[in-house]
Symmetry: C2
Subunit: 273 residues, 2 copies
């Protein structure tokens, strides 16, 4: 019987959670489909395991109530902050304003020509429109592997990456939008937009461009990791494994199918809940 | 004669550059005054040296010409991108629009009620209003010190920090604004604003709040580093030095004065150039 070290135990536990048809701990409850290829790729390595990910998303967030006890929370979630809209799917970006209105949870108006600046105070709950790019956390067997992954990510433009505690690598890139588009008028429970629907359309088209750029960067990173950490010839005295049994294309295709199958299973489980 | 190792040589070279009255390599040419206390604190340690910093800033950036050869650059600097306005000083945030207009480099108009969406294409050069928070890079003697600094930063809310190559720690926080506020009408060389001056005022007041939050976070980080990396009782077998000759307050006061003196010298040098 092979004795597992701490990394291997952790990896097995994480993979069995990923393989499970139960929802995971994220608000969405499952891995974003666009992340599956790179997650599957990384997890073929004996030296790495993915721990969390987001493929990139557009969100519209209503800040919570801000506290003045001690620290003033500006721009944070606050008490009772909530997502008015979230999508990871570029096809669901355009039209979010209509969808939000159709929910009838809040009334929604545009400020029109003049913003009632007397209503904007330090405790105003803003509505924030955000584009957030791909982010991935990967636990590595040792610091050498973590460094290699970090260097691969940095060289592909993921310039805000870093190694954290316990050889956990965060892969991050700075493709963002962070725009205050309105505020909640608490007296009338109305979402008041500072900006016109035309301006919202411009934000949406910028988000679509960012989704594209994001997808290109993810592919570049996939190829880099594939070439430098997976299908590499190991240098003497490194633990990196050679995995050449199937071609890149074959594995990519197989992993994509397996991932899609798991998504289907997960969806059918969720529908039954 | 003491033999210096690579870290010590590097540190001495960096400190002599900081101490020099010559402009540094940044666009601004000098260290932001708000960064001086934490930079001086960190550099009192034998195990750390700061390599770059920004105290936080508001900027208005005109994107450059985008290329369609190969990769489309969206949201990047592009060829000929330029800063229309930059300030690290919270007192110079309000009024930037007037200052920009007074420069007469570009005509400036607001789109008014309707954005001419037919003019917005994939090659449109947007005007981006940004708030970017404090960022600091610190080279550490070894991985143990880098980990300690990383953990200190994370525990103060600098959640996008990370350790990079050669024990270089990047300390980063996510307090941002990233707002497309207009575009360049190339035919008339006119900056066209999507948003009203009132909306710009809201952005400015949000930036001011972020400057405040940023300053609080910097102070928290200063105290944490002071307590855990500078004035700490070393655990057995660590190389961390004890530096208790003067009290925290005394050193802070002295370092502040020294920093201010250097800024004055630098300014007078720059005025002579």
């Amino acid at each position: 019987m092979a004795v597992q070290n701490a990394f291997e135990q952790k990896k097995r536990a994480i993979l069995s959670e990923i393989d499970s048809t139960q929802p995971d701990l994220s608000p969405k409850g499952s891995i974003d489909a666009l992340c599956l290829p790179i997650i599957e790729l990384i997890n073929t390595s004996n030296d790495m395991v993915t721990t969390s990910s987001c493929s990139g998303r557009v969100s519209v967030f209503l800040e919570g109530t801000k506290s003045y006890n001690g620290e003033v929370k500006i721009g944070g979630k606050g008490q009772g902050g909530k997502w008015l809209y979230v999508t990871h799917d570029h096809e669901k970006v355009v039209g979010w304003l209509d969808e939000l209105m159709s929910k009838n949870e809040y009334a929604l108006e545009t400020c029109g020509k003049h913003i009632p600046s007397e209503q904007i105070t330090g405790t105003t709950r803003y509505i924030l429109y955000k584009y957030e790019p791909f982010i991935l956390h990967v636990k590595c067997r040792d610091f050498q592997i973590a460094s290699k992954l970090y260097n691969a990510a940095m060289s592909c433009g993921f310039r805000e990456s870093g190694i954290g505690s316990n050889n956990l690598v965060a892969i991050r890139i700075n493709i963002k939008l962070d725009v205050p588009i309105g505020y909640l008028d608490e007296s009338s429970e109305t979402l008041m937009l500072f900006v016109s629907p035309e301006y919202v359309s411009i934000l949406d088209s910028l988000s679509l461009s960012k989704f594209d750029e994001n997808a290109r960067k993810m592919q570049t990173l996939y190829d880099k990791i594939d070439n430098e950490l997976i299908n590499c010839i190991p240098a003497p005295n490194t633990k990196t494994k050679v995995a050449l049994a199937e071609t890149k294309e074959e594995r990519r295709e197989r992993k994509k199918k397996e991932g899609m199958e798991r998504q289907r299973q997960l969806k059918s489980t969720q529908n039954q809940l």
